[in-house]
Subunit: 205 residues, 2 copies
DNA sequence: CTCCCGTCTGTTAGTGACTACCTGATTGGT
DNA sequence: ACCAATCAGGTAGTCACTAACAGACGGGAG
């Protein structure tokens, strides 16, 4: 829940961003991503093409968003250091998914669903989305704060984190294919269980 | 080891492809990927820009290649159907890596190394490489030939395959960061073991 | 209230990846 | 030797994206 800054300028800024993104996703769904030009988006949003580029540096950024990466990294950092890595990371992923499950997050959930479906269907978006997941993986590893210089442990942490995010991705794809009807935290837990065994998500705390 | 077709035309075609790709990777390493234009590549290879586009539809294709995907899918399909999925897929990945370990594959190995390092360092290439891995994941799932319509089993297979490929990716990144000094099949096995436990790569057969 | 600074927006002119379409040249089989 | 298919090159265009400049507006200082 990002609190809206009270200054008029910042509010208008957020407003135009939302307007542009809303028109963009609508046009992408109606005509297809590749068939929609940045000029189309600008015209539909009632701004100049340059304004679109100022708020979204690339066309792909109109669909992608990393708003949950920070949240996940924080939860990983806050998890108890004694637990196995896959549980620390997996728990954070399930918790982040659960944050989307409430009724008050319905709008965010629907918007994420539309964007996910675009990402899956459009090769360029899919590729950049996967790269974002990779960046999230690095952020998670940074949040673990493993200052130890053991390269073997670092390698295993990389492998564990990448597998956790692969499970998350599998769950999100399935969720999008189901049009969001299935419970997302449950899907994430099931994917993690399918990879690591049923004991990972485990009983809470 | 693709046998070269004996017709003169096909041989020259392969030759120009190799020339273009070699000059491209060299320029990309020397000046950077983004700082090298397609015209630069064409000029260095002694052909017209149009010819470059005929052989490599996008700039990224000058670096990427899916030559091992088919091999991996075949090995998965040939693996015994009774074994657990992660062993079937993981075994195929280790075997594919082992095919690169021989002395006769040294040139292929070095070339793959250079391209991998470019992929890791260049965001656009990294994204498309990850998308290729995702395509490979779908190919592997197709090779499993699980005709059963159980959606739960399909979901678990997706999760398992994605985690296997995440481990492969982790191993390849590490291998590239080590400048290819480490044994690639060993790294793949270690990454799989870190994700699934030490019993997966397990004793041969 | 006014002035000034920083931010937001728009315009223009570019670069570079990529496509569509057409024109010759070369090769492989008849 | 001929014909058809394939391959190289040229031209002109679209589109994503950038750089540089100029005007408009909100927000704080006096």
């Amino acid at each position: 829940m990002p609190e809206e800054p009270s200054t008029l300028r910042a509010r208008r800024r957020v407003q135009t961003q939302r307007t542009i993104q809303a028109h963009a996703t609508r046009l992408f769904r109606e005509r297809g991503y590749d068939a929609t030009t940045m000029n189309d988006v600008a015209e539909a949003a009632g701004v100049s093409p340059m304004t679109v580029y100022r708020h979204f540096p690339t066309k792909e950024d109109l669909v992608l968003s990393d708003q949950y990466g920070e949240l996940i990294a924080e939860r990983v950092a806050a998890s108890p250091a004694g637990q196995p890595l896959v549980r620390r990371i997996g728990g954070a992923l399930v918790a982040a998914a659960a944050a989307l499950a409430g009724d008050d997050a319905a709008a965010d959930r629907r918007f994420l669903l539309v964007r996910l479906q675009l990402m899956i269907a459009t090769p360029a978006l899919r590729a950049r989305h996967l790269d974002n997941q990779y960046a999230l993986q690095q952020a998670i590893l940074g949040a673990l704060e493993d200052g130890d210089a053991d390269p073997d442990a670092a390698f295993e942490a990389q492998a564990a984190a990448s597998a956790c995010l692969a499970a998350l991705h599998t769950a999100m794809v399935r969720w999008a294919e189901d049009d969001g009807r299935t419970d997302l935290p449950g899907l994430v837990g099931k994917a993690l269980a399918a990879v690591f065994g049923d004991d990972v998500a485990g009983p809470a705390r």
